[in-house]
C-alpha cells in the first residue's frame, strides 16, 4: 500500500515536470540545463562577485589607491587573526601593528608584527573620502581599521595598498573585456551578416580578410599597433584605443559564427515570407535572423571576453597598453617584472591570480552556456 502511494506521487510529479517541459520557452529550457552544470554556476557566481567588486571598487577598497605611505614600503600581506598571543579568541578579527626592523644579514628593511598593538577590523568604517562613480561623495568603506593600517595584499614600492589597487584594477580589466567584446560584436555581426546573407563575391572577400587576420600572430600585431599610440594621450583615449586594437582580431570568430548560421537560415521559408511581405534586408537580418541564434552569440561572446582580458593585461604588462595612473591588473603586474622584485616581494603577483580566476570563470560559464544552448544535448 505504502509503496504504491509513493509511486503514484512520483508519477504525478513526473507528469507535472513533463508538462512544464512542454510549455517551457526556449530560454526556460536553457536555464534548466544550465542549472545542472555545477561548474558554470560556480563561474557565474565568481563573475558576479568580481563585477560587483569592480563596479563598487571605491567602496570595497580599503584606501585611496593612489595614497602613498612612505613609511610602509613593501609591507608583506598582513595576517588576519582571530586568536591573540595569549590564546584568547576574538569574534572581531584583528591585525597586529607593524614594527620596522632591518634584516641582520642583508640590512634590508623588514616588517615584523608588533604583538603589543592590535587593530580590530570593522565593517562599514569611515576612511578616505571618495566619489562613487565620480558622483556620490562618501567616506564609508566596506572594511578597514579605525587606526593603524590594514594591508591585506601588502604594499608596493611607494607604500600604496595592493588590495585597494587590485580592486580598482578589477574595474578597468573586467570592463576592457566587455567594451572590447562590444566592438567585436558590432563588427562581427555587421560583416558576418553581410557575408552570410549576400554570399557571392562579398562573402569571398570578407572570408579572405578573416583568414588573413586569423593567420597573424596577435601579440606582435597588437604590440606594433599599441606602440604607435602617441605618448601624450589622455588615459581615456588610450583605454578606448587599446580596446579597439583588441577587438580588431576578436571580431573574426564572431563573424564566422554569424555567417555560418545565416547561410543555413536564409534558405528557410520564413525568410522568403518576410521578403514577400516587403521587409528590407536589414530588417530580415536584425529582426528575423539574428534572434534565431542569439543563444549562440551569447556563448561566443562569453568565450571571447577572456581573450580580450588576457590581451589587455599582456599589453599593459609590457608597458605598451594601459599606463599609470590607470590601474589595471596588467599595469599592477608590470611592477613585478624582474626576478629580483619577485624574489623579495612575491605578493606583487597577487593581481595575476585574479586574472586567472576571472578567465577561468568565463570559460566555465561559456562551457555551461554552450551546453545549455545546444538543443541536441
Amino acid at each position: 500500500m505504502e509503496e504504491e502511494r509513493v509511486v503514484q506521487i512520483e508519477d504525478v510529479e513526473f507528469s507535472l515536470e513533463k508538462e512544464e517541459l512542454y510549455t517551457a520557452t526556449q530560454w526556460q529550457l536553457m536555464w534548466r540545463k544550465f542549472k545542472r552544470h555545477k561548474l558554470a554556476i560556480v563561474g557565474l557566481a565568481m563573475l558576479l562577485l568580481l563585477y560587483i567588486l569592480g563596479i563598487f571598487c571605491e567602496f570595497f577598497a580599503v584606501y585611496d589607491p593612489a595614497k602613498r605611505n612612505t613609511s610602509y614600503i613593501y609591507v608583506p600581506p598582513q595576517r588576519i587573526h582571530f586568536i591573540d598571543e595569549s590564546g584568547k579568541f576574538h569574534l572581531r578579527p584583528f591585525v597586529y601593528g607593524l614594527k620596522q626592523e632591518s634584516d641582520p644579514i642583508t640590512w634590508r628593511r623588514i616588517y615584523v608584527e608588533d604583538k603589543s598593538v592590535k587593530y580590530p577590523i570593522y565593517f562599514f568604517v569611515k576612511g578616505d573620502k571618495y566619489k562613487l562613480w565620480n558622483l556620490i561623495e562618501c567616506d564609508r568603506h566596506f572594511m578597514g581599521t579605525k587606526e593603524g593600517y590594514l594591508f591585506l595584499f601588502g604594499t608596493d614600492e611607494s607604500g600604496r595598498d595592493l588590495f585597494s589597487r587590485t580592486i580598482y584594477g578589477a574595474r578597468i580589466s573586467l570592463f576592457t573585456g566587455l567594451v572590447g567584446v562590444f566592438f567585436s560584436f558590432i563588427i562581427g555581426c555587421i560583416l558576418g551578416g553581410i557575408s552570410g546573407y549576400y554570399g557571392g563575391t562579398t562573402d569571398i572577400i570578407i572570408q579572405r580578410i578573416i583568414e588573413f587576420l586569423i593567420s597573424l600572430p596577435s601579440i606582435p600585431l597588437w604590440m606594433s599597433l599599441a606602440a604607435a599610440m602617441p605618448k601624450n594621450w589622455s588615459p581615456l583615449k588610450v583605454y578606448f584605443l587599446i580596446t579597439i586594437i583588441l577587438s580588431l582580431i576578436g571580431w573574426c570568430n564572431l563573424a564566422r559564427v554569424v555567417r555560418g548560421k545565416l547561410l543555413e537560415l536564409r534558405e528557410l521559408d520564413f525568410v522568403t515570407a518576410a521578403r514577400l511581405a516587403g521587409a528590407n534586408d536589414w530588417d530580415i537580418i536584425l529582426k528575423h535572423l539574428l534572434p534565431n541564434f542569439s543563444s549562440y552569440l551569447i556563448v561566443n561572446i562569453t568565450l571571447a571576453i577572456p581573450g580580450m582580458i588576457l590581451g589587455e593585461t599582456a599589453l599593459s604588462f609590457l608597458g605598451i597598453g594601459l599606463r599609470p595612473p590607470i590601474i589595471s591588473w596588467g599595469v599592477l603586474l608590470k611592477n613585478a617584472q624582474n626576478i629580483n622584485t619577485i624574489a623579495l616581494q612575491p605578493w606583487l603577483l597577487i593581481p595575476g591570480i585574479f586574472i586567472v580566476i576571472t578567465v577561468l570563470a568565463f570559460n566555465f560559464l561559456g562551457d555551461g552556456l554552450r551546453d545549455a544552448a545546444d538543443p541536441y544535448r
Binding site: F212, T313, V356
Partner: protein, 328 residues
Amino acid sequence: MQLSYLLRRLLYMVLVLFIMSIFSFIVIQLPPGDYLTTYIMTLQTQQGPIDTAQIEALRKQYGLDLPIYQQYIYWIKNMFKGDFGWSFEWRQPVGKLIAARLPMTVVISILTLLFTYAVAIPIGIYSATHQYSFGDFFFTVIGFIGLATPSFFLALVLMYVFNRYLGFNVGGLFSAQYIDAPWSFAKFVDLLKHLPIPIFVIGLSGTASIIRIMRGCLLDELRQQYVITARAKGLEEKMLLYKYPVRIAINPIISTIGWVLPGIVSGATITAIVLDIPTVGNLLYTALLSQDTYLAGSSIMILTFLTIVGTFISDLLLAWADPRIRYT
C-alpha cells in the same frame, strides 16, 4: 594534391606578406617623430646643440628625408637584395640582427609545437577512453587552468618558484659563462637545461586546448557504429582504438596548426620578453619601444612569414594525412 592548388596557396602567401609589409611600415611610421629625433636629442644632451646642416646630413644618410612611400619602396627593393635596412639603435644591419636570432626562434617554436602535440594527443586519448575517471578530471582541471593563465604570469610564477625553492635562475637561454662562448658540447648541454621552461610556458595554453579538442573528437568517434561493429567482431581493444578512431580524430588536430602556430609565436614573443630570451619577438619589442623603423618592420615581416609558412605546411600535412580531403 593538385599543382594549381599549391600555386594558388603560394600566391596567397605572397599577397599576405605584401599586405603585411605595407601595414607594418605604416604602423611603424605612425608615432610622431622618428628614430632620428630621439638620436638628435641624445646627441644634444651629450655634445650641446648641433647645427641644422648636420641634422639634414643625418636625415639624408638614413633616407628619412624622402616621403614615406619612397622610403617604403626603397625598403622593399633592398629586401629582395637581402638588405633589410639599417638598425639605428644597434648600429648594425637589420638582416644580421634577425639572422642571429632567427634559428633560436624557429627552434623554440618547433620544439614547442612538438611538445604541445606530444603531450596533448596521448592525454586526449587517455581522457576520452577513461571518460569521467579521476585522471580525466585531473587533466580537465589542469587544462582549464592552463587556458586561463597568461603566459607571462606563468613565467613569473615559475621564475619565483625556481628561485625560491631550487635556487636556480630561469631567465635567458644560457648560463652566464656560455653566453659569448663558441658552440661546444658543454654549451649545448647548458642550452638543453634552459629550454624546458620557456617551452613549457609557451606551450601550456595550446596543449590545454588541444587536449580538449582531441578528447571531444575521439569521444564522438568512439560512439560511431563501426566501433561497435569492430568490437562485436572481436577486434582487440588496442588495435581497434589506434587503427581507426584515433587516426580520424587526429585530423582536426593537424588542422589546428593553423591557429596553434600564431598562438605560439604570440606566446613566444611575450615569454621571450619576460624570460629574456633572444628571439625575433624580443627584438621586435625593443625596436618598437625605440622607434627603430626598419628593425621593427622587418621583425614583424619575419614573424608573419614564419606563421604563414607554418600554416601552409599544416595544410599540406592535412591533405597527406586525410585522403578524403580533396583540393581543387
